[in-house]
Subunit: 517 residues, 2 copies
């Protein structure tokens, strides 16, 4: 038994049994060890952004980490953008990054690079194992780090000699992540006083406060105190739809968000970050809350948020029974036959969305109405781009489908962003994953046209147009999907989209709909 074997066994021992992978020569002993353990499900991505984005989507839906297998510094680098999204989602991921054998680093072979420097910005925990005999301890520490507290990305760097060297002991280390921190009574008391102060209070939720039971406690508090209830703009996962608590999100546009929150005197954060503008603009505020708004962090992401909200409800004497009072009713949007645009497209999706779906949203500008128009659809999970690194959607949908066999994953995807990690479609075909992808084909980085006007240009000249427009040539999504083994169709109106979605609902396995808008 070598280091690679004990690494695999330690991962399995600690309930990590899916490995999204794109290996290379320096990982070959690890591959051989995986090959001896069919109970580890190895899933190939044809690009590392698919691997890490799938691990993010998997973690969001499985509530536990997958492993990734990445090839040296460049392989990790290719996966960093989606690790950035995972980090911003507080999604647990355990990266195994191969490196050259220790003694080979000194010859500066072509693939040598500073892996730790690359890993640190997106990882909460980075370690290069010192050798085979440390690997079980290190792997368990990586799993614990990924899971505990504010969950995130743990990166374990595996020199090839640590993988191939025999181990002295077969003893497997157990990950013991610290339990979620309880919120102490003094903080609960402070929050209760703020809620009773007569001021206008915002209860801002993030992280695990967006699961159904926590939302019911939060809704009871809001109902009893008159506080406003909102989710952050971007979140790891929201349990929503009919029969669950309806929840607004902080608005993306900074001016609109500031106007919307202008009357808030006190913001209580429950697993949420204080809202900030996605980007800075000259002369505009960096944060939407008023500068004199009191911001009180009741609990951090990773804390025991459900318990904190229930304790707060108790402290306030809010009745938490009959949660149905706070539930959204089943209400499908109406939609008329006609052309597809951001509004009508969201209407068709809202009218169709099946019970138990996982909606994966990287719809950006063309999906502006999606969240609102699925609010009354049957109960579903909603996962979205968190870190702003586009190219998260297709891989996340892929990983979510791995985590949730038997549920339909509905991937609503902007076209420009989809191209970043288009290789994910192949993995969906390879693994026969039940994902329907709707490409919002506006053939443009539409958000940038809008932003250019924000900086004072009346319209894009040649250079800007050449950087914003995805026409000339237009992307052919049916061809692209077919080239990766995914059936596809193209639609141009609401009836066509509805028919294509019905066709997707009637099948299992990946399907892509190019919606020309």
């Amino acid at each position: 038994m070598n280091g690679a074997d004990i690494l695999c066994d330690t991962l399995l021992h600690n309930d990590v049994d899916v490995c999204f992978a794109n290996p290379g020569t320096s990982e070959m002993h690890f591959v051989a060890a995986l090959d001896r353990r069919p109970q580890m499900r190895c899933i190939l991505g044809l690009f590392e952004g698919v691997v890490t984005g799938a691990a993010d989507g998997y973690a969001r839906m499985a509530d536990k980490p997958a492993a990734t297998l990445l090839h040296l510094g460049p392989g990790l680098a290719n996966g960093l953008a989606n690790l950035h999204n995972a980090r911003r989602a507080n999604a647990p991921v355990v990266n195994i990054v191969g490196d050259h054998a220790t003694q080979h680093l000194k010859v500066d072979a072509p693939l040598t690079s500073d892996i730790e420097s690359l890993a640190r910005p997106m990882s909460k925990w980075v370690r290069t194992t010192r050798g085979a005999d440390d690997l079980s301890t290190d792997a368990a520490a990586a799993v614990a780090a990924a899971r505990e507290g504010q969950a995130g990305v743990a990166t374990l760097i595996l020199p090839a000699d640590a993988a191939w060297t025999p181990v002295a002991s077969r003893r497997l280390a157990t990950a013991r992540p610290k339990a979620a921190a309880a919120v102490d009574a003094a903080r609960i008391g402070d929050a209760a006083r703020l809620l009773r102060s007569g001021k206008k209070v915002l209860l801002l939720l993030g992280d695990a406060a967006l699961r159904a039971a926590a939302l019911e406690a939060a809704a009871a508090i809001a109902h009893a105190t008159g506080a406003r209830l909102m989710a952050q703009q971007s979140n790891r996962r929201i349990e929503r739809g009919a029969g669950r608590v309806a929840l607004e999100r902080v608005i993306y546009n900074i001016d609109a968000a500031a106007a919307d929150l202008a009357d808030i005197d006190v913001a209580i954060l429950v697993g949420a970050q204080e809202p900030a503008a996605f980007f800075a603009y000259p002369g505009k505020p960096a944060r939407p809350l008023r500068p004199d708004c009191l911001v009180y962090a009741l609990a951090e992401p990773g804390d025991a948020l459900l318990a904190a909200l229930r304790a707060l409800a108790d402290e306030l004497g809010c009745p938490t029974g009959d949660a149905g009072r706070f539930h959204a009713p089943l209400r499908r949007p109406e939609f008329a036959d006609g052309a597809l645009d951001a509004h009508s497209l969201a209407g068709v999706v809202g009218a169709w969305l099946p019970e138990g779906a996982v909606v994966c949203d990287e719809s950006l500008t063309a999906g502006a109405h999606l969240y609102a128009m699925t609010a009354g659809a049957p109960a579903h999970d909603y996962i979205q781009l968190t870190g702003g690194a586009i190219g998260g959607g297709l891989p996340m949908a892929t990983g979510a489908a791995v985590a949730c066999p038997g549920r339909k994953v509905v991937s609503i995807q902007a076209d420009g962003s989809a191209m970043y990690t288009v290789q994910a479609l192949w993995t969906q075909a390879r693994e026969e994953l039940d994902v329907v992808t709707v490409i919002l084909a506006n053939r443009s980085y539409a958000i940038l046209h809008h932003e250019l006007k924000n900086v004072g240009a009346t319209s894009a000249g040649r250079n800007a147009a050449r950087m914003f427009d995805l026409r000339d040539p237009s992307l052919g999504w049916v061809h692209l999907a077919n080239g990766m083994g995914v059936e596809a169709t193209s639609v141009t109106d609401t009836a066509g989209l509805r028919a294509a979605l019905d066709s997707a609902a009637a099948r299992r396995g990946p399907f892509l709909i190019e919606a020309l808008i």
Copy 2:
């Protein structure tokens, strides 16, 4: 005039007039400035790996840097793998990486990350500009750093407020890269003594020593002294073919390379690195040269290599006239009608290659015979994957075509690697670049099957096969190319490949050939 304007003007002033780009909101003032300067050619890549790989290919053929425009940490991260290849090629690249406005960093907006930490491993020079009034100096310093000495990657980080703030002065800074270092007479004398010592000498060439004139001087030295002449395994660019000096390369496989170099007593490095195994293997040497081989570095990459080789020839009294003695004759390989394999495919390419072509080689296992079988083709340039980060080929070919209008770029590309940066095909279509891509479709990470056997496995089990094989489903390259606006065909035998290449030669613009091998 704001910081973005003076940044653009400084780039143009210093002969940087191509910008490979994938911008975002934080770069919008820079985009607006580019839009006011149509003399800057802005070329969109639909993924940042395309952007940076194209900048690498452009630099190799234009002998000067392009700029890249990248969006914050994740945009840079997506481009790092091909910056790694550029670094290993000593290819000059000037990255402009946008960041949030300085005062916005403290709010930890979703896209915030440690850009400098990400940039450093692949960059020889990294700087975050302090403000608009420093931008011209900083941009000129970036251009100088990219070009001088061992050329490479310079990364200038551009906070949004530096871009949007008005500048006090319109004065443009001029890049003054240090001149290539001359090799002093003592070193020339040392090298001459080694060459006359009677020992078996290897003259190992890299960097600019692989251009036609330098190779002629090196060939004269080798001819006069009996030294062996070789290029490194991986190089930025080799001028070769009929009418130029024929040149072997160090063999990739470490055992074969060690056997091939077993009689070498002295290695003289001219712009080359001492050879090393690409990967470490248990019980195998890290370097192919004998441990007792004397390694003498006559000149570093970026030094005045042509002058050094001519001085060495003078010192040795080698006649350097009549360079035609050392030239490869025009000799096309024969090929028979039949199935395509690594050998027959290389034969067809060698028999067809047009004069003045730029061959871009990321053929890997399926291209094992390509270098040898194009040795007698008409004069051409040969650029190849340098850093081992796969996904370099399609973008490099794209950038080379931008640098060399009027020349046919021949992109010989392994299928697994092509998927990494497949989006490059769209840029080829958008810019109507004269690139013929031959996809070597073995539908496998073939090298990994081989390497798995090297570590003792007799054959791949399910997990390994699922990570190495690109079948189930097979990629459809004609569909993929068509989906990005590139015409394509699929061939299965030598006659089909030849006919497709002839068709490519008769047209201008991108064309893709899927060669099923």
